[in-house]
């Protein structure tokens, strides 16, 4: 079973990390997966084939490990900083028909939404949303940085989104209108 899992992982992880890293990772994870599978056998409900269930476990273990390795040197502040340092002015200016009015509107809107985020969300919610959205960090990683777990983070993000939705609605801003304002026409 270990060999089969290692092979499955080989396909699942192809191209997601340097080969040198993957080789040892696949072996280690396959081994760990076997142990985990044996330990969780009583939770197998038979709703899928055994190897499907087993592969799922191996894939989850592999990604947790991959993400941990990839992001272990990045701090939460670092994730948020990357966003600030990138110069996005070209994107606004690259628009085919940017009228000065449109530019002004967009700037105003960006600032307004930023203000709403700061006002409507708790610090934690704000950090979480920005890190996941802009930093592109995986949930596992952001959760670790925030000292929580993935499930709690997912709920945090869900609540944050609901709050933002409400706030936008309260301000009379529809998502459609906002998107229209920022799309290239």
């Amino acid at each position: 079973m270990r060999l089969k899992l290692a092979r499955g992982l080989h396909y699942a992880l192809a191209g997601r990390a340097p080969d040198s890293l993957l080789e040892s990772l696949e072996e280690d994870v396959a081994q760990e997966a076997v142990l985990k599978i044996l330990a969780s056998l009583d939770t197998f409900r038979g709703e899928s084939q055994f190897m499907t269930w087993a592969t799922k476990i191996a894939v989850r273990l592999a990604f947790t490990e991959l993400r941990r390795k990839r992001w272990q040197d990045v701090s939460l502040e670092g994730l948020l900083k990357v966003e600030e340092e990138q110069d996005y002015t070209p994107a606004i200016l690259a628009d085919k028909t940017p009228t000065p009015e449109q530019l002004a509107e967009r700037t105003i809107m960006l600032e307004a939404v930023e203000k709403m985020i700061v006002e409507s969300l708790s610090d934690r919610q704000r950090q979480a949303i920005m890190a996941v959205l802009t930093g592109g960090a995986p949930m596992d990683e952001v959760a670790r940085q925030l000292g929580t777990n993935r499930n709690a983070l997912y709920k945090l993000l869900h609540d944050a989104r609901l709050r933002l939705q409400k706030r936008l609605a309260a301000e009379g801003l529809s998502p459609k209108d906002l998107l229209a304002l920022f799309s290239e026409k």
């Binding site: 092979r7 396909y11 997601r16 948020l80 606004i92 939404v113 920005m130 499930n151 609901l162 998107l179």
Partner: protein, 84 residues
């Protein structure tokens, strides 16, 4: 802090966010994902059969990434099976 691209992304996500009763957590999605994957593998619509899982996958990049990797692995393993 915010730039147009980020804002667009955020708005799109907000458009798809619903105060869902029964929204799944990552663990709950993980519980069901092998079943979900097998439905897809036989060519049926897993999204229709298990909409809550699909909903979670739409919103959760980590779970979606793992699901896609699982599908890749399963497809190859399927091919490797000895034909009777």
């Amino acid at each position: 802090m915010l730039n147009p691209e980020t804002l667009k992304e955020m708005i799109l996500i907000l458009t798809n966010t619903h105060a869902g009763e029964g929204a799944l957590s990552c663990d709950e999605c993980y519980e069901e994902i092998d079943h979900f994957a097998e439905i897809s593998l036989v060519g049926m619509s897993a999204a229709e059969a298990m909409p809550l899982v699909q909903d979670h996958l739409d919103k959760c990049p980590d779970c979606r990434e793992e699901y896609e990797a699982l599908m890749t692995a399963l497809k190859f393993m399927e091919q490797e099976k000895p034909t009777d």
